[in-house]
Symmetry: C2
Subunit: 418 residues, 2 copies
Amino acid sequence: MPAGTGPHVLRRINVVTVLTALREGGPQRVADLVTATGLSRPAVSRAIDTLRAEGWAEDADQRSGAGGEIRVGRPAAVIRFRSEAGHVLGADVGPHKILAMVSDLAGNVIAERREDTHRLRGGEEVLRALLRITTDVLAEAGVPAGDVLSAAIGSPGLVDTKTGTVTLAPSIPGWASIPVAAELRSLLACPLSVHNDVNLAVLAERWRGTATEADDLVFVQWGARVGAGIMIDGRLLRGTNAAAGEIGFLDLAEHRGPDGPHIVTRDTMGPFERQVGASAIIELALAEAERQGDARLRELMLRARPHDDVAALFDAASAGSALAESIVDQIAARFARGLAAACLLLDPELIVIGGGVSRAGARLLTVVERHLRRRTLVRPRLALSSLGDTAVALGATRSALDDVERRHLSPDALGASR
Amino acid sequence: MPAGTGPHVLRRINVVTVLTALREGGPQRVADLVTATGLSRPAVSRAIDTLRAEGWAEDADQRSGAGGEIRVGRPAAVIRFRSEAGHVLGADVGPHKILAMVSDLAGNVIAERREDTHRLRGGEEVLRALLRITTDVLAEAGVPAGDVLSAAIGSPGLVDTKTGTVTLAPSIPGWASIPVAAELRSLLACPLSVHNDVNLAVLAERWRGTATEADDLVFVQWGARVGAGIMIDGRLLRGTNAAAGEIGFLDLAEHRGPDGPHIVTRDTMGPFERQVGASAIIELALAEAERQGDARLRELMLRARPHDDVAALFDAASAGSALAESIVDQIAARFARGLAAACLLLDPELIVIGGGVSRAGARLLTVVERHLRRRTLVRPRLALSSLGDTAVALGATRSALDDVERRHLSPDALGASR
DNA sequence: TTAGTTACGAACGATACGTTACTAAATATC
DNA sequence: GATATTTAGTAACGTATCGTTCGTAACTAA
């Protein structure tokens, strides 16, 4: 087996070129692939032979192709990427639910399973639930475990991507330090990676969300806690210690404890989260309602408090409560200060806001934008996440697909056997 | 000329492989290149022939090679990258000086010229000085203008990289909106780009400074104004509007004007700069000296004020003045808050501090680090810039070299003629 | 049934690589 | 001065790839 660079390398390059064109252009004729790749027809033909032999391509049904035009002459065979040649697993282990999905290589979700985690006690139970759901979703999809080419898991907290364990996850008691990757390897023989949930969400936003085409992108998770996923040049920014995007720990207001400034630690919530997180919003609204003697808003907020359900406040603002509106304005102003830091440092094209608070809707966006404008030199677009609570699982799927592309559909891998 | 992928592409790839090995490994024998590239000897020979014909390589003097061992048998011919095959120009148009340098393709600085800009009045004069210095430094290097393959200019302020004009440069009166690139094109027929000075400094730090090997890197310019250059994965983060790293506009203390929060604009200094910039340091020291009745420090600061020369304060602190020391501590605490924002968002491996204030030395670094520690989740290394005021020009050189590598020394370009 | 159109595949020449073997060159050692 | 040693260069051969060209297959329409 020659190690150097010979004609076979050329072959691989061209095979991948054809495969890429096939995957991006959908089912198409040989002639289409010829123009798409710039290769000659025999070269494309040979490449297709290879792809067929390795199971990546096959002839599609004649009529399914992009025909429809003048049907004269010998009908062209339509070649199709066999997206069912392999599958990936993407899962989201969150504070409220576990969501796992199986997708094919084109990213079509074949099956998904979801389970509330409220009554689960301890990380061991969460892990067992994850294993069970994984088995179930694979069965539902009809995919044997051996056909899974890659898997990715999203989890809140800090994640050691190398070992595949969660280092710290305050929102899921007992979840940290469980060897998730190792445990799942008993089910799946494929490569498996664990990632921070917000980082996966930003992948999903760019893949299937509001952010298609944006290369410089910040996704802000705004819920009980606040975190950001950052994408630069279409690549995820993880940071040296996998701790990039920890916007929740920004200290914008010079909080002071009894002895000097507040010390930031991982075990507690950060200063910024305490200012704009869901519970901070409720508490502010409650305090203001009491101060202003607004019994109705006070009642609403008391009812919302157990679940930190901020929707009630935004509904009140929409319904015309001037007090609620002013509270929303205050919150937006605080939030904008944190966003401004990200804008000044990163100058992103787009900021997508997700998480529980973002469900307040476009109204909140407008107010935040107004405050942001006076704090930054540039004006990035703002948008709400459109993916809901599937963002993390979708991002995990995308991450697994990326892994498959690197390992199976790249020049280094393809045709290496022959 | 076939557009597709054929054996000739293979050829180019291998020629570039050999060239890269030659450039990275220094002058070496053919046998060394064979092991370095994994190609066969005939293939390497052919590639060298091509490189020789195109002027990129030649035989070196026998003894200059990495010999020194047993000198038995036919002495090996040593092949050398002809770093003199082309040159690049890097220039820094700063508030105090213009510095231009000519380097060969290996990055060796052949000649440099520097000129104070204090007595220059208006952007037109600065431009004329730049053109003159450019001509001079080329003459001194003995490089005809036609041999310059690429040029890059660094300027403070905001730069439109596409058109090559400076949009805003408060520190050089009249400099903005002068079409620098267009004017220089009358001297140089090569591609020419204009960049923000701090962005170039971060390139230089990674190339020749303290930051070699660090892929995630922040360079903070701490002088009269404050800005940052950000490198992620070894690539410069410019931002969608070329406005990334504007750390000087961070508003950490909730400054309030008469009607609401301060509005950030490009024409003025940013909130963070006003807190920790050189003049803020002097003013703080002066106020404290008066408040505490320290006549000596007051005198020192009054003398330092015209040029915002902060060295005097740090000297006093080193000399044992408790008051000066406490002022340094206050400044470091403020500065650490801004750094913390960058750390939380980016999680860099290393932060390099440059600019006038950084000349205070390692002492300042230690204090900043102490304050930073309690504000971040991770602890990046801190370092002082070792490049002094040549950083921007060196970075411009590096940027021009990158351009040459892309345009002349890549598979797309090399051997395209034959 | 025939003509026209389109797609596919085989044959050919050009070019590249790797392997192998041989020659040429330059120096040290005897 | 002859020999051994080490390296570079070159030529021949086999293999593999590409692009070009041309013949054949398949299908529609008259």
